[in-house]
């Protein structure tokens, strides 16, 4: 790690101002950013912590309608508190990393980072969530733009995420054996107007909607409706832990399991 300055503002305005400085970067739970700094792969001059800003924290919602989560809310809090509104989202949060990661890592950091194997992006995309920033609101469909790439502008801060609550939903994750991130993770959300299926961990393009499955499941929300189906292997990630073919296959399996588990 190289030397850096550290600022911990108490207001969003303070954070925005601090992030305007040269080589400043937002720090939330630090579970992604700090390891990369330790390895000297990332060297911001100033870290601007978001975890001291009260308005970026917490879970609030209206049963059956929507739940909003502050960007700096750790996974453990989402796991404990979001279940009253959106059980599938709480389940997903409770399955991220280990207790240390869940107590530090935050939803805002996860979405901003958009790791192709991260869990939250699939929930946001499948739910049709709205990502709120200090300057605008961005639909999840527009937010994720490929591996580690989002619609965020430099210095733009995610303040919260608002999830419409589906009738039924579930997240099925197949763990990469070492990191326990998703080797393939599928979030299925059934709304009155149709089913949305978002896939993480599998594609070289990052999180994506599997529209073929959405169409089949919108017609018949049951695992049988997508029996034997899998997305094409082309464009899937191939690495130590699985070939593109295997990942494509897993997406089919995990989608069926998510549908079966949806509640």
């Amino acid at each position: 790690m190289y030397n850096f300055d550290f600022i911990k503002p108490e207001t969003l305005a303070g954070a925005v101002e601090a992030l305007a400085g040269e080589d400043a970067q937002a720090l939330s739970g630090g579970q992604t950013l700090l390891p990369s700094m330790k390895q000297r792969l990332n060297a911001p001059a100033t870290l601007v912590s978001l975890t001291g800003i009260a308005e970026l924290k917490g879970v609030s919602g209206r049963a059956g309608a929507s739940v909003t989560i502050g960007a700096a809310t750790p996974h453990a809090v989402v796991a404990a508190e979001a279940g009253a509104f959106y059980p599938a989202l709480a389940d997903l949060a409770g399955g991220i990393g280990d207790p240390a990661v869940r107590n530090r890592g935050t939803i805002g950091g996860s979405l901003a980072n958009n790791d192709p194997s991260a869990c939250y992006p699939s929930a946001a995309l499948a739910s049709g969530a709205t990502i709120k920033t200090n300057i605008r609101e961005i639909a999840a469909d527009d937010f994720f733009q490929g591996m580690f790439t989002t619609a965020l502008e430099p210095g733009e801060i995610i303040t919260g995420v608002s999830f419409p609550i589906p009738e039924k939903a579930a997240y099925a994750k197949f763990q990469q054996p070492a990191s326990r991130f998703a080797l393939a993770g599928v979030f299925v959300a059934k709304f009155a107007g149709g089913v949305r299926v978002a896939v993480t961990g599998a594609s070289e393009g990052g999180v994506f909607r599997w529209t073929e499955a959405e169409a089949a499941l919108s017609a018949n929300f049951s695992p049988d409706a997508i029996a034997g189906m899998a997305p094409p292997a082309e464009g899937m990630i191939g690495d130590l832990h699985g070939t593109p073919e295997y990942r494509a296959h897993l997406v089919g399996v995990m989608t069926r399991r998510a549908v079966a588990a949806a509640h």
Binding site: M1, Y2, Q39, F174, P177, A178, S179, L183, D239, L240, H241, G242, T243, E245, Y246, H249, L250, V253
Partner: protein, 790 residues
């Protein structure tokens, strides 16, 4: 009746008090006054020629004291190799120099090129980035099959080949081949024993401190064998008298073999401290450990067995390519030969066994011992092969093993591959396994799994290992350059307490507890009167350290011999005090008695008198009560046993879950059953890790793909089941005073084939009869791919 103290008691591990309360004395917490910090600049490429190395800017950087390159190590030797293997043509193995800093060429990613010493660790690291290092990249040699092909690029230009040795062992090839030609059935298996990273919880640390007045070179290091490091560092690398080097290894947070070897950094911090006249410390981080700790396994093998029509083994032959990496490590060439080829008979009475091993240099991190070291590679091949043979012959896997087991009345048994097993009873451990693993209930469990959509399989393995390393004569005959003895010092203090120094080292094995149990039992004292001291070459006796499940069998035997000498001396003192003849004195439960009388004196009084010898006849009775013993074992010890694993395979994803694991081991006599169970648990955990998860992988450029825990899959608590561990089958070792065999590696040796056999069994029973083998790690993606490949 379980005992509550002494030999056979499950005494609680006294060292755990400090480990569990954060009071362990680990190296990273140790700092010396005036200490400077070192950082190693390592090669970013696998193979290349260093064309420029400009350290001027780094030397001028803030806090920098010195930058060392190979120019600073010109006067010293390379890192020595402890074994010399001879090729089939009688020629000694190629033994190119292993410099402590790269000389001219880099041989693997992570190869140390320069060391920066600065006031702080961060300054040293910052300055290392200012070193201008130009490397002209050469085509890397990564894959062993490519490395041995004609025209391959060379890791060492000067030897003209990547084959370090071409070794053959056991029955002459032609004799074995003749049996194969006439056999009723031959089973063949090609397999890979993948490369592993040991990953002890504590990364390595080395701290050098030179005293210009006494000329003492002190090295504090994370080592399994401080005395051995002292020998190698003084005699082979620095060329100075051994007593001017002191090596200390305080609490060490796990080794698993990877902390046996003499490492570059140990030499460098000592040299630097001498040059700078101040202590110099280097601490590895986890990423650096992946690039610099010696790695394990990495064999590619074809193994075959010839059988008669009833499944009796007539002959066995193997061809193995064994990866040595980019340099010869301390024991590198011994692992795939002496510790592997000699075990290829297994528990079986196969009359002819031929083993061929080529040791191969590649542009990868050097390979050396990892828990089991050679013996897991042998056991895995054999036990996978035997399972495949059983299937091909239509025999039950337990039955084919029983048909071929060496029988109890055949001991001592000379194998075709150089060993003489002293004792064992392989049917007994198999019987015990069948009982404790509840084979009878398997069908019901399988039906229950099937009801949940899972395929269940049962896998068996039997194993034997050669431990208690090593009889010096055997080691010498097989190419070892050191002996295999241990020594111990037992000092009875005036107030009756006993201090025992051992040349072995404890880094998780619990010696401080178990060795005290032995001495307490022999002297009839409470265990808490006995202290075991290890880890400092200055205060400890000579010794060779801890590896190869040798500490109890060899080091413990030395302690027994020294304690026997103490008792003999104490009897002399007691005879004097009781005014009786020495031969009339008996010693039992801490009391000396004149036979046939009620005249007696207790141990404490004898001890006190030894140091308060007011009326000793000094011509015939020396004061003091302290003895030393050296013990050189007459033979290896041969722990053996049988393991069973049950797995469930998820047919949709290929994921394997271990449902249960049972072990029936014959370790000879047991000193502390709880400690033994713990050793077996840890070994099985690592074996399951190898079987299902761990994999050290390089890409075609020699870059390490699995260089962190994000990609190198270590087993965690929820990856392993509750183990059933039994060590009630006991055939005491015939040649050491305790009748013990060693238990440190067994778990890691016997378990991988049991796990893989279980996976194959599950697939076979589940209708995937085309799947006869899957290489480790048997990961979900590999299982799924094998299921698809109809």
């Amino acid at each position: 009746m379980p005992k509550d103290s002494g030999i056979g008691a499950s005494s609680k591990r006294r060292e755990d008090v400090r480990f569990l309360t954060g009071k362990g004395r680990y190296m990273d917490d140790m700092n010396r006054p005036g200490q400077a910090y070192a950082y190693l600049l390592r090669s970013p490429v696998a193979h290349g020629r260093i064309t420029a190395l400009d350290t001027r800017e780094a030397e001028a950087a803030p806090g920098v004291i010195k930058v060392m390159t190979s120019a600073d190590t010109a006067g010293i030797g390379g890192l020595p190799c402890g074994w010399q293997i001879h090729s089939r043509d009688g020629a000694p193995m190629h033994e190119p120099k292993h410099p402590v800093l790269a000389e001219g060429k880099v041989h693997h990613v992570g190869d140390p090129v320069a060391m920066v010493i600065a006031e702080t660790a961060a300054q040293a690291r910052d300055a290392a980035e200012m070193i201008v290092m130009d490397i002209e990249e050469l085509p890397p040699v990564v894959n062993m099959k490519d490395a041995v092909a004609a025209g391959s690029p060379l890791v060492f230009d000067e030897i003209g080949t990547n084959v370090c040795f071409d070794w053959t062992f056991g029955t002459p090839q032609a004799e074995t081949d003749a049996v194969f030609a006439a056999a009723a059935h031959v089973t063949t298996l090609d397999l890979v024993n993948q490369r592993l990273v040991a990953n002890p919880m504590e990364p390595r640390v080395a701290l050098g401190e030179y005293d210009p007045i006494t000329e003492l070179h002190s090295l504090f290091t994370t080592s399994q064998n401080p005395q051995l490091i002292r020998l190698l560092l003084s005699a082979f690398v620095l060329g100075i008298p051994e007593q001017r080097v002191r090596v200390m290894a305080p609490d060490v947070g796990g080794g698993f073999g990877s902390k046996i070897f003499h490492y570059n950094e140990e030499v460098l911090v000592v040299l630097a401290s001498k040059a700078l006249k101040r202590p110099v410390k280097w601490t590895s981080d986890r990423s650096e450990a992946f690039l610099s700790d010696r790695q394990g396994r990495d064999h590619v093998t074809r193994i075959e067995v010839a059988m008669d029509k009833d499944g009796h083994f007539l002959a066995m032959r193997t061809d193995t390519l064994a990866n040595l990496g980019g340099y010869l490590s301390t024991l590198g060439p011994a692992i795939p030969t002496i510790l592997h080829g000699t075990l290829m008979a297994g528990n079986y009475k196969t009359p002819k066994v031929t083993v061929n091993v080529k040791g191969v240099f590649t542009n990868t991190i050097p390979v050396d011992a990892y828990r089991g070291a050679g013996r897991p590679e042998a056991t895995y091949q054999l036990e996978r092969l035997v399972d495949k043979a059983a299937r091909e012959m239509g025999l039950d896997p337990v039955e084919i093993r029983r048909r071929n087991f060496i029988q109890p009345d055949q001991f001592p048994y000379a194998t075709p591959v150089g060993l003489a097993y002293d004792i064992g009873n392989y049917d007994a451990t198999m019987d015990k396994l069948v009982e404790v693993a509840d084979f009878a209930g398997f069908e019901a469990r399988k039906a229950e799994s099937a009801a949940r959509g899972k395929l269940r399989g049962l896998g068996v393995s039997s194993y034997i290992e050669a431990c208690g390393i090593a009889p010096s004569a055997a080691a010498g005959a097989l190419g070892g350059r050191a002996g295999g003895w241990e020594s111990a010092n037992v000092r009875v203090n005036a107030a009756g307490g006993v201090t025992v120094w051992t040349g072995t080292h404890s880094h998780g094995q619990g010696h401080e507890t178990t060795f005290a149990q032995i001495v307490a039992d022999m002297l009839g004292l409470p265990e808490n009167m006995i202290d075991i001291v290890h880890g400092d070459s200055a205060s400890g006796p000579l010794g060779l350290g801890t590896y190869g499940s040798r500490s109890l069998a060899v080091g413990g035997s030395a302690i027994v011999r020294a304690t026997e000498k103490v008792i003999a001396k104490a009897k002399k003192i007691a005879a004097h005090l009781l005014e009786a003849a020495e031969e009339d004195i008996t010693f039992d439960k801490g009391t000396f008695t004149v036979a046939g009388t009620d005249k007696a004196i207790d141990f404490g009084t004898v001890a006190l008198t030894a140091y308060v010898p007011h009326n000793f006849p000094h011509e015939t009775l020396e004061p003091g009560l302290e003895e030393q013993a050296f013990y050189d074992p007459a033979n290896f010890t041969f722990p053996a046993g049988a393991y069973a694993c049950e797995v469930e395979v998820d047919p949709e994803t290929g994921k394997v879950s271990v449902c249960s694991f049972a072990a029936a081991d014959d370790f000879g006599n047991i000193i502390n059953p709880m400690v033994v169970s713990g050793q077996v648990h840890g070994g099985i955990g690592q074996g399951i890790g190898q079987a299902l998860m761990e994999n050290c992988v390089y890409d075609e450029n020699g870059q390490l793909l699995s260089g962190s825990f994000m990609d190198y899959a270590m087993p965690r608590a929820d990856d392993v089941p509750n183990y059933v561990v039994d060590h009630s089958c006991i055939t005491p070792c015939t040649h050491n005073p305790l009748g013990v065999k060693g238990c440190g590696e067994a778990g890691a040796i016997g378990s991988p084939p049991a796990v893989v056999n279980a996976v194959i069994d599950a697939l076979q029973r589940g209708g995937y009869s085309h799947v006869t083998h899957i290489d480790m790690p048997v990961s979900p993606s590999r299982v799924w791919a094998a299921m698809q490949a109809k």
